[in-house]
């Protein structure tokens, strides 16, 4: 293992674990202002969408709305399954299968 990679993993670990650990330890004693709590409630939806849309619309950094964009095409059956079942496993499986199919066909 390269030393730089090790430090990178340690850095990623610290910034990931602190937000997991601190609220459970601290918030059993103090409480946050309600506006902060309400703002935090929207974070999961906001961050997932902020991650997802660029991956679908900007593959490789440039805007692509054509049939060559297999990620965008694969997202259609994937969204249908996600909305219908709310099942993570089925959604991921559908995504992988359709993505592979579109790579072969197109």
């Amino acid at each position: 293992m390269k030393r730089e990679i090790f430090f990178l993993i340690i850095g990623m670990s610290i910034v990931t674990q602190l937000p997991r650990i601190l609220p459970l330890i601290v918030l059993t004693r103090i409480s946050m202002p309600s506006i902060v709590v309400r703002w935090l409630k929207h974070i999961p939806v906001a961050v997932l969408s902020a991650l997802l849309l660029p991956a679908l619309l900007l593959p490789g950094g440039s805007l692509s709305l054509s049939l060559d964009n297999t990620a965008l095409l694969s997202s259609i059956p994937c969204i249908l399954v996600a909305a219908k079942t709310k099942n993570l496993f089925l959604t991921v499986l559908t995504g992988i299968i359709f993505s592979a199919l579109f790579q072969i066909i197109l």
Partner: protein, 222 residues
């Protein structure tokens, strides 16, 4: 065997079924992006966050600075803060050292799967040991397995694996969307993120879009 531990194991089963394809996909892609099985083992053990691991290895392959990767990881995983905070009223009966251990296992999936039990206010540490422990072990195993077979797979994108992360985001997003406000927050965050990425060509699009869209969500409540 402890009854609560068994209950945790049972609750973990759908979670581990979701982890398997994502973990394998991550391991395969990350091994092609230059990470070794040992790197991947430590990343899955110490970071344990699927989306951040995917993005970090892609950023590593494209030559991003380490500090940018760490800041992006922080922002992507900041959502765990809310999950951890929302569990705190129900776990006052568990000691701080045990809570520290439990909180390391909080992911989108384990949090969602265990929430019903958490909300009873009587969840046993053994329940979390079963649910969080098994889920974490399966995540580590599937990512390391993926990295071992990864070097034998020539074009992982041909197998649709590069889409696994987007598919996971879609699944998690739809698990989170409960009303029209959520849809509005999702659309505004996504569009803003695309616009910022397109015009500014930097990695701050995710942070900026998330912060602004969550504020829009707060404003919509009134």
């Amino acid at each position: 065997m402890n009854k609560e531990f068994i209950k945790g194991i049972k609750t973990a089963i759908p979670v581990t079924l979701g982890y398997l394809p994502i973990g394998l996909a991550f391991g395969i892609l990350a091994s092609q992006q230059g990470l070794s099985p040992v790197d991947i083992f430590f990343m899955s053990l110490l970071v344990y966050a699927g989306s951040a691991q995917f993005i970090a290895s892609a950023m590593l392959a494209s030559g991003s600075a380490y500090i940018t990767i760490i800041v992006t990881t922080f922002l992507i995983n900041l959502r765990h803060l809310l999950m951890s905070a929302s569990m705190s009223p129900y776990l006052k009966h568990i000691s701080s050292p045990l809570l520290t251990l439990i909180s390391i296992g909080i992911t989108d999936e384990t949090y969602a799967a265990g929430y019903a039990e958490t909300a009873t206010g009587k969840a046993s540490p053994y329940f979390y040991l079963g649910l969080y422990g098994l889920s974490h072990i399966i995540w580590i195993m599937s990512t390391v397995l993926g990295s071992i077979v990864g070097s034998h797979i020539a074009n992982p994108e041909k197998w649709g694996l590069d889409f696994a992360l987007s598919a996971m985001f879609i699944g998690l997003l739809f698990m989170q969307i409960k009303d029209r406000k959520d849809i509005f927050v999702a659309i505004s965050s996504g569009v803003l993120s695309v616009a910022l990425a397109y015009f500014m060509k930097n990695n701050f699009n995710i942070i900026t879009a998330t912060i602004v869209a969550a504020f829009i969500g707060v404003c919509l409540e009134k």
